[in-house]
């Protein structure tokens, strides 16, 4: 049977519904907007008095009626939903400023009492749109705005890493622009904040989660190079990597890819692949992820990053920006991250340092732009 027989599904029928917590659900958002990466969620904008929120509604009809093993599918989806909720809750409790804020969670029971038809609602802070949309609205490409995106996303990743959470799916559709009510900048730099959304694919250190078994649960178009060549590793090597070299290093790479995307409108991966000699393409390479391959990947990354950043300009800021980009996209995951942090005894990826370095560049870029506007 096809799930189309059950369409529209309960999660799509909440328009006008009032949640127990008082949120009044608006019309369902069109699916492709990319406000969420989950295949099973429907997005809504909800209101409560003057407050506005984004609601992600999930049901398990598909799991119970279409899956070959419905119970296993139900368990897996429930785990995913609860894991995401708990993670969001943990982030909210820790007061993370650059991660989308969790507000409520509640379950809307089905009128017939069918468990599969109950809808789980995650109520979260609402944004103005993701990075793909925000980029289109920019009058000047690159500049201080792009550095703001990088600095604030890095901050968000650092906040997550500090809590032992690796996001694993940093990409333009998961970076949301949120109004900043505490803006103080006369030039409008702080009117919005960039926050990381969609914690549906995270892994948590020391806590079992639904994606622990996946080497890379995020979007393959943004994944780090070690995952382009999964056959290049002996069994167990990728699975048994230390947390920093595996999960945190993957986030660092995705930040680098996001950086290139913000500056140029293309992903780092697509530029790098164009620079790779045929024998080293992921579809061709049959060897290990060894020095022969890493040296070539390194050269291809350097060429791509230098070209992309030079293209945008940035004057005196270009060199430190390239350094950061090269450090966080190092093809060797054990070397990836802030160079100084990596050389320390803890061998940390050092997203705190990366975030500070980007924030400093952002501050300098603002000063340069303010200086120019006064002239």
């Amino acid at each position: 049977m096809s799930s189309q027989l059950y369409s529209p599904r309960p999660k799509d029928l909440l328009a006008g519904h009032v949640l127990k917590s008082g949120w009044v659900m608006g019309q369902p958002l069109p699916k492709p907007l990319g406000a969420t990466g989950s295949n099973f969620g429907t997005g809504y904008i909800a209101h409560r008095g003057s407050e506005k929120a984004f609601v992600k509604a999930i049901d398990f009809v598909h799991a119970l009626r279409d899956a070959p093993d419905p119970l296993a599918a139900l368990r897996s989806l429930t785990n995913e939903a609860l894991f995401e909720r708990d993670t969001l809750k943990a982030c909210a409790e820790a007061g993370l400023g650059h991660v989308i804020r969790y507000i409520e969670y509640e379950v809307v029971p089905a009128p017939n009492g069918d468990l599969a038809e109950q809808v789980h609602c995650l109520v979260m802070e609402v944004g103005n749109g993701d990075l793909r949309a925000t980029m289109g609205a920019q009058k000047v490409f690159g500049g201080a705005w792009a550095l703001k995106v990088m600095a604030e996303t890095a901050k968000g990743i650092h906040e997550l890493h500090k809590l032992g959470i690796a996001h694993q799916d940093i990409k333009p559709s998961n970076v949301i622009s949120v109004p900043n009510n505490r803006s103080t900048s006369p030039f409008g730099y702080d009117e919005t904040l960039l926050k990381i959304s969609d914690l549906g694919r995270v892994t948590r250190r020391g806590r079992a989660g639904p994606f622990d078994h996946e080497l890379f649960p995020g979007d393959p178009n943004y994944m780090p190079p070690e995952h382009w060549y999964p056959n290049a590793f002996a069994p167990g090597v990728l699975q048994n990597r230390p947390w920093n070299d595996g999960r945190e290093a993957a986030d660092a790479y995705m930040l680098g890819s996001l950086m290139i995307f913000t500056l140029t409108g293309v992903t780092l991966q697509s530029v790098v692949v164009q620079n790779l000699p045929t024998a080293f393409l992921p579809s061709v390479w049959a060897g290990r992820y060894d020095e022969d391959l890493i040296a070539v990947l390194k050269a291809a990354h350097t060429k791509a990053i230098v070209k992309c950043i030079s293209e945008v300009g940035y004057g005196e800021l270009a060199t430190p920006l390239k350094s950061i980009a090269l450090e966080i996209t190092h093809p060797d995951p054990t070397q990836r991250g802030d160079r100084k942090a990596r050389r320390a005894i803890t061998k940390a990826v050092g997203m705190d340092r990366i975030s500070q370095r980007l924030a400093a560049l952002y501050a300098r870029a603002q000063a340069i732009e303010i200086g120019r506007s006064k002239r």
Binding site: V266, Q269, T278, A286, E291, D292, V296, T302
Partner: protein, 540 residues
């Protein structure tokens, strides 16, 4: 004359080497990358159609890492270009590359093309490489390219530092190891190059490094550590794909030929020529007479076309000076540190009596390798031609100090000096000594070549016995014709004192036969060294 050639690793720009099998992995290709998610691409396309803008277009282009989606992505890319949608320069470049309309294929490190004697493109390339290394100095490939330019500019110590940096960053990398070994040969430290490869743990399992070890041992006059193992691997023929066996088989073949095991050498050479690279095919052309095997067939023709050095040798052997010059220039662009293409370019220009161009090439070559005695002797000859006899003599002293192996050339050049000074008897004596030395070394073609120059210079400077010398030269050239004399005589046709003689190729053996099965109407290839003059096609 053509300098002796060995099967040591080629040192091309890294971007070119990485496109050859010698940089690839020994295992068979296998698909790694996830094939992508079409639903996600469709959602991204729908988003772009709805919202437009560079961000949504970028999300569509992000799928270009999956070749299976190229058609869909290109359709959107064309639509975006046609509609004049918002697009960044890098997005436009990415689309152009996908459409195959990019200006040129991307080079991994930087551009190395420079075709004239002007050095500024080289300086530009060095500047680009330095910029790349300033951004990120842990890039071993960039260090290798920088070392090549530094070598070409004669900055031996700087080049060595760059090579050491690459070795330190990637001590296990095959391209780095082979390039480092080649560099040590360039600076005259063949033993060091050999030690690097022979003591490396990777060599025992890597046919490319093993091939280098065998060739370097020969060059350094040491015993090869891997010749026996390499011979066994070649004999077995199954351990690696033919493209990875080519240099190893070639190196083994050269050693077997040297040891007088001609039959085995031909078999190994056959293995080398199954999927030859540019190095092996050039070596095969260079030693065509010794091996006595035919170098034709589609695979070999293609390999020759892909090797500037092989094409140069082919043009040289057939006396086509223009073709040889074009290929020598291309080879020089690929290996600007090497004295070999420079020497041939200088010779061609000397033959054409374009002494200014010859001098410019020699200066370039000597800048990169000040101790290349062949170039020094050529420069000495050139100095005599332009009347700077003292400088010529100083250069000959320097050449003799460096090596004794080119003594007959030095003597012949001294003979020329005597002719210019009208000291004909002493000149004759020196020329004859040179010819005798060539004869003693069984290099009769070179003896004839020397006799030819003696005769032409005798005529040019009104030697009383010029006619006798010319008669002798004609006689020698008839008996011992060579590519060198032919190319020279064809270029200097106007002299017409000595006529070129066509070289008749001795009987060769084919390395394969086409077998036509009439009943089944099938054509198959049967590999194996054939008897002399065996037919290329047989019917079954």
């Amino acid at each position: 004359m053509l300098k002796d050639r060995r099967l040591i690793p080629k040192w091309r720009p890294v971007g070119q080497t990485l496109e050859t099998p010698e940089a690839s992995n020994l295992a068979n290709p296998s698909a790694n990358l996830d094939s992508g998610k079409i639903e996600q691409l469709q959602r991204d396309i729908a988003d772009w159609r709805k919202h437009g803008g560079i961000g949504f277009l970028g999300a569509v282009l992000a799928h270009s890492v999956h070749p299976a989606f190229n058609a869909e992505i290109l359709a959107i890319a064309r639509e975006a270009l046609a509609a004049n949608s918002a697009i960044t320069r890098i997005q436009r470049d990415a689309i152009s590359t996908m459409l195959g309309v990019a200006d040129q294929a991307p080079a991994l490190i930087g551009q190395s093309a420079f075709s004239e004697l002007n050095l500024s493109p080289q300086k530009l390339a060095v500047r680009q490489l330095r910029a790349v290394l300033r951004e990120n100095n842990d890039n071993p490939m960039a260090w290798l390219d920088l070392a090549q330019f530094q070598s070409a500019a004669g900055k031996e110590h700087a080049a060595e530092r760059s090579i050491q940096a690459a070795l330190q960053l990637a001590p296990q990398n095959r391209t780095v190891l082979r390039t480092a070994a080649r560099f040590f040969v360039h600076i005259g430290q063949e033993g060091r190059g050999h030690r690097l490869i022979s003591s490396h743990p990777r060599t025992a399992s890597d046919p490319w490094l093993m091939a280098s070890e065998i060739a370097l041992a020969d060059l350094a006059q040491r015993e090869s550590k891997f010749l026996k193992l390499g011979s066994r691997i070649v004999e077995d023929g199954k351990q690696f794909a033919p493209m990875h066996m080519t240099e190893l088989s070639g190196a083994v073949a050269v050693q077997q030929l040297k040891d007088g095991r001609v039959k085995k050498a031909r078999k190994s050479q056959m293995m080398a020529l199954r999927k030859p690279n540019d190095n092996v095919i050039a070596q095969a052309i260079f030693q065509k007479t010794e091996f006595g095997v035919a170098l034709d067939g589609p695979g070999l023709d293609l390999a020759i076309q892909n090797s500037n050095e092989a094409l140069l040798l082919q043009h040289w052997s057939t006396g086509e000076a223009n073709g040889a010059e074009v290929q020598a220039r291309l080879w020089y662009e690929q290996e600007p540190f090497s004295s070999r293409p420079v020497q041939l370019l200088a010779l061609l220009n000397i033959y054409k009596a374009d002494y200014a161009a010859a001098q410019a090439w020699l200066k370039l070559g000597l800048k990169s390798d000040p101790n290349a005695d062949e170039l020094i002797i050529n420069m000495a000859y050139l100095k005599v031609r332009i009347g700077k006899l003292d400088e010529a003599q100083q250069l000959l002293i320097k050449a003799r100090r460096l090596s004794k192996k080119n003594e007959p050339f030095s003597k012949a050049t001294e003979g020329f000096i005597c002719y210019v000074q009208k000291h004909f008897a002493h000149g004759d004596l020196l020329y004859k000594e040179a010819m005798e030395e060539f004869s003693k070394a069984s290099n009769l073609e070179m003896m004839a070549y020397c006799g030819l120059f003696m005769a032409l210079h005798a005529a040019e400077y009104d030697h009383p016995q010029a006619n006798e010398h010319i008669a002798l030269a004609n006689d020698l050239i008839k008996k011992y014709p060579s590519a060198d004399t032919n190319i020279f005589l064809r270029l200097r046709n106007a002299d017409s004192l000595v006529a070129p003689v066509d070289i008749i190729e001795s009987d060769v053996r084919n390395l394969q036969q086409l077998v036509y099965d009439e009943r089944a109407n099938i054509l198959t290839i049967m590999r194996g060294v054939q008897r002399r003059n065996a037919p290329k096609l047989i019917k079954k």
